[in-house]
């Protein structure tokens, strides 16, 4: 198996490694880097549990080769808030009971980050469509929608405060 040297930034830290051509980015993150917050729930890009940010865009890392991420800037659930603090989405999911088993949660949050980045004040419908690439089997989505709404509000306020 051909090996390739890749270098990328993950959660602010530069990472270099020799990887197989076929190694999926999700496995690189989980197995090689031991960051297991990014989950695997399917093999057809259907569930979104593996969603991460690549150069700010939410991407299902189960369908992305590690070699393709050479030079990329990657953020995973472990990197969205400093230790001991919460990203507004993490806080909102806790406040609104937006998680049960927690398995889909990292992917939901990573997807929602980009959603709120591109649409800071989404309607309920826009949120539902916006997270429709991420499956949750526990919550029935009502409280996930509320969590995203709460985070949107808080992030808007934060933005106003910094302007």
């Amino acid at each position: 198996m051909a090996k390739h040297k890749v270098t990328m930034t993950i959660n602010g830290a530069s990472v270099s490694a020799e990887v197989d051509s076929r190694l999926l980015l999700v496995h690189f993150i989980r197995e090689n880097l031991d960051m297991t917050g990014t989950h695997i729930g399917c093999d057809t890009s259907s569930c979104g549990a593996c969603t991460i940010l690549i150069d700010g865009k939410s991407v299902k890392s189960c369908t992305y080769l590690a070699v393709r991420a050479d030079g990329a800037n990657i953020t995973t659930i472990e990197g969205i808030a400093a230790d001991g603090t919460n990203h507004p989405l993490q806080k909102a999911f806790h406040d609104q009971h937006g998680l049960h088993c927690g398995f889909c949660t990292p992917g939901m949050i990573m997807r929602s980050i980009e959603l709120l980045e591109t649409n800071p004040n989404p309607t309920e419908k826009e949120i539902r469509w916006g997270i429709s690439g991420n499956l949750c089997r526990c919550t029935g989505y009502n409280n996930i929608v509320k969590s995203v709404q709460q985070a949107a509000e808080e992030m808007s306020k934060e933005k106003e405060a910094t302007v």
Binding site: T36, T44, C47, C101, T105, N134
Partner: protein, 788 residues
């Protein structure tokens, strides 16, 4: 509505405190089975059968073993040397761990490849050359008993055909007579198709055998780790796996819903492989393996409901054909091969009922696990709730009115049902009234009349269900002989903080919070000061696990009673500290005080400290208690759900406009969590009602074995749920609680089906089986129009 005895800081019952378990999940620090990584760990991948029924002519391992990194290919023949190639199912049927000669369903495990890396294991699986001789599969369960059907299980002594068992309950003669004499009888064959729980985390295991200590450490996606340990010891005791040497840890679980109750062949092979190789072995299912190798439901129910011309229900009869696949691996209590199906008489008061069921073998995957419901309750509720609606339509009576006129009345509890249950409590009338008021039933009836006049299709569907959950009592309920009790063990430390351990295992239900709230309620120790621990068989007390909504009814009760034992001990200590007689001590949440002199008091924390430092002479030191709770009866949560839909006649598209769910689950521990559970259950109710179903072709191939075509609802398909409660405490549960997480999965499908069929009724469509998809609706509309 939720009255609280404790302050928000203490956080006892009725407080919507935020969940204690959230932080690790939100920060990507959960620890699920696939996150476990042990030194030297090997990876296992299964080779699976492309055929539904075939003889295995040969398995050539050579090319696989030639791959660098492939260490072993384990076949049924290899396991047969240790007599581990078969295992018992929970209902004492037998299931292949790995086959020696025949495969019985598509995707059945054929052999396992063990390698140093999961990619290499997949390469190895690709390289194994298996030669098959395909045979004509039995796919249609109605043909399984034909004379020319092949005998699928000749391995079973005395098995002459593909019939597994006959079960019946009730008085057949009297029920038949009542049906024959009735003014009105409605009939329907109702199919609840195969579905899969599809928890977002699939099943998996990491088995790690230490040859020096002879300890087998197993990380397992299991809802019932203690029971699995015992089963493992019973099945593999002969090769040296003794129960005290087996430690099962069910770490964080990414959704269970019943799918993580059984023992899957992959678990056993990974454990055997680790035992033989002496290294940790990990096996994680991929999504297709998960979807195709288990199932819930698959009941074909012939129903007859008899009533007077005014709609007073007189008798219900249901004859069911159950497709169990090639083995009966239903996850049911031993004496209940059909689970709690006999709850099928529903929420109504009538005398005569008869239920029977015949189960057959086919060339499909085994399963018969739940899909977020107590053993077969969903099937039962769907049958009666569809039939009640059919009766209402037949006699032209409002389905709400028909239900009111037939409900078991509040004062009739405990109610002896015609098929032998003793319903504990309920106020069905109040619950339905509340749902009707919340949805605006009368207004919708008017709107429907107007829309119908304009030729538009609008439907209103009701379901008023009664569940039966919380097994034991142990005299009736056991799993492979193990009584269905559950347990709690509380240790209050000298500083007044506590650790409590349970025999159950949360998979998202929030036990770390709700159990702490129960103890906060009973002891007055703030819930934030109480750690909850479950899932490790080396540390937790024995219990039967979490499924069938049994955690609150059993382990929750155990927590309350263990806490009360501590309170009794504390009373003696308080009397000692306050230098009064024990009879003079009274309790209010969190403290003991002297009768008539409330200023003389000791807090629970004072008492805990004294239990280690200054206890009465002769008293056993320490402040710990354990209770194993064997419930006197099951609990009977119930609810009234109303769904409003519009159907597009041109396309068959269904729009769920409103869905109101009023649940009565008795007293509530954490309203926020209960509401969350109801939301999730409702989405797992709309899923089988409108989207999900495992589809087989005539050859036994699964046609939708991925999440691309097995349609788990997204946020777009999931409606905005509206919830509410009535509260009728369980009279026999120490907390008056009943269990809730599965009610919505049980109650939602008939409400949705009833609404859609109500919408289509003006076209002459009187029944549709779930999943009711737009194409099914469109077909039915075209057929109805052609007939008209």
């Amino acid at each position: 509505m939720f009255s609280c005895k404790t302050s928000p800081e203490v956080g006892g019952m009725g407080h919507s405190v935020k969940r204690k378990e959230d932080a690790r999940f939100l920060h990507g620090k959960g620890n699920y089975t696939d996150d476990v990584k042990l030194p030297g760990m090997l990876h296992m991948v299964m080779v699976r059968s492309p055929y539904a029924y075939a003889k295995i002519l040969s398995i050539d391992k050579e090319k696989a073993l030639a791959i660098d990194g492939v260490l072993a290919v384990i076949t049924g023949e290899d396991l047969a040397q240790y007599n581990l190639h078969w295992m018992p199912t929970l209902l004492s049927d037998s299931q292949m761990v790995l086959p020696t000669d025949t495969v019985m369903h598509q995707s059945q495990e054929v052999c396992a490849v063990i390698a140093t890396d999961r990619y290499i294991a997949v390469d190895g699986a690709e390289a194994v050359d298996v030669q098959y001789e395909p045979m004509q599969a039995v796919v249609n369960p109605f043909k399984a008993l034909d004379e020319d059907a092949p005998l699928l299980r000749p391995d079973k002594e005395g098995q002459k055909d593909n019939h597994i068992y006959h079960w019946e309950r009730g008085d057949k003669a009297k029920t038949d007579a009542a049906i024959a004499a009735a003014d009105v009888v409605v009939k329907e064959r109702i199919h609840l198709p195969r579905i899969h729980v599809a928890s977002i985390e699939t099943c998996g295991v990491v088995a790690s055998y230490d040859k020096d200590t002879e300890k087998m450490l197993i990380y397992l996606t299991s809802q019932a780790p203690h029971a699995i340990r015992t089963i493992l010891a019973l099945v593999a005791g002969h090769v040296g796996l003794s129960e005290e040497k087996i430690r099962i840890i069910a770490p964080d679980i990414g959704g269970g819903f019943g799918g993580k109750v059984p023992v899957y062949p992959g678990y056993v092979v990974a454990i055997a492989a680790s035992f033989l190789i002496g290294k940790p072995v990990k096996w994680i299912e991929d999504r297709s393996e998960n979807l195709v190798n288990g199932f819930a439901r698959d009941y074909h129910m012939d129903c007859e409901l008899a009533a007077t011309k005014d709609g007073k229900i007189q008798a219900f009869k249901v004859s069911t054909l159950a497709d169990h696949g090639y083995t009966d691996s239903s996850a049911n209590p031993s004496k209940y091969p059909t689970g709690m199906f006999s709850i099928c008489t529903g929420s109504y008061d009538y005398e005569h009922a008869f239920a029977e069921l015949d189960a057959v073998y086919t060339n499909k995957a085994p399963g018969g696990v739940a899909y977020r419901c107590s053993f077969r309750v969903t099937e039962a509720v769907h049958a009666i709730e569809r039939m009640v609606d059919k009766l209402a339509a037949e006699i032209g009576k409002d389905p709400a009115l028909l239900r009111f006129e037939n409900f078991i009345k509040k004062e009739q509890f405990p109610y002896a049902s015609p098929l032998g249950w003793s319903y504990d409590s309920g106020d069905y009338k109040a619950t339905l009234e509340k749902a009707m008021e919340m949805v605006g039933y009368d207004e919708y009836k008017k709107e429907q009349a107007e829309k119908r006049a304009q030729g538009k299709l609008m439907g209103i569907g009701i379901c008023t269900f009664t569940e039966v959950v919380g097994a034991g009592p142990s005299k009736d309920f056991d799993i492979l002989g193990i009584a269905m009790f559950d347990s709690a063990e509380i240790r209050v430390h000298p500083t007044g903080k506590a650790l409590a351990r349970f025999g159950t295992k949360s998979q998202g239900q929030g036990h770390e919070t709700t159990y702490a709230q129960i103890l906060a309620e009973e002891l007055g120790i703030p819930y934030t000061d109480i750690e909850i621990d479950e899932g490790d068989t080396d540390t937790a007390p024995y219990g039967l696990g979490t499924y069938a909504s049994r955690s609150t009814p059993t382990a929750g009760a155990a927590a309350a009673i263990a806490a009360r034992k501590l309170r009794d001990k504390g009373k003696k200590i308080a009397a000692h500290l306050l230098e009064v007689s024990e009879d003079d001590i009274e309790w209010e949440v969190g403290k003991y005080f002297v009768k008539g002199a409330p200023e003389k008091s000791k807090t629970i924390q004072d008492v805990a400290f004294a239990a280690y430092t200054n206890f009465p002479p002769g008293m056993e030191p320490g402040f710990e208690a354990t209770h194993y709770y064997d419930p006197p009866n099951l609990t009977f949560p119930n609810g009234a759900y109303i769904c409003v839909v519009e159907v597009d006649e041109e396309t068959g598209a269904i729009d769920v406009k409103r869905f109101v769910a009023i649940d009565d689950c008795g007293n509530i521990i954490n309203p926020m969590i209960v509401e969350g559970q109801v939301h999730g259950g409702l989405t797992q109710g709309i899923a089988p009602a409108m989207y999900e179903g495992i589809v087989y072709d005539d050859e036994g191939n699964v046609l939708n074995g991925t999440l691309m075509d097995y349609l788990v609802p997204t946020a777009v398909e999931s409606p905005h749920w509206e919830t509410g409660h009535t509260i009728t405490p369980s009279p026999h549960h120490p907390l008056g609680a009943k269990g809730v997480a599965e009610s919505p999965t049980v109650g939602a499908p008939p409400a949705i089906a009833n609404a859609i069929i109500d919408a289509l009724y003006p076209l002459g469509i009187k029944h549709l089986d779930i999943p009711i998809t737009p194409d099914k609706v469109w077909d039915a509309i075209q057929k109805a129009k052609a007939e008209a």
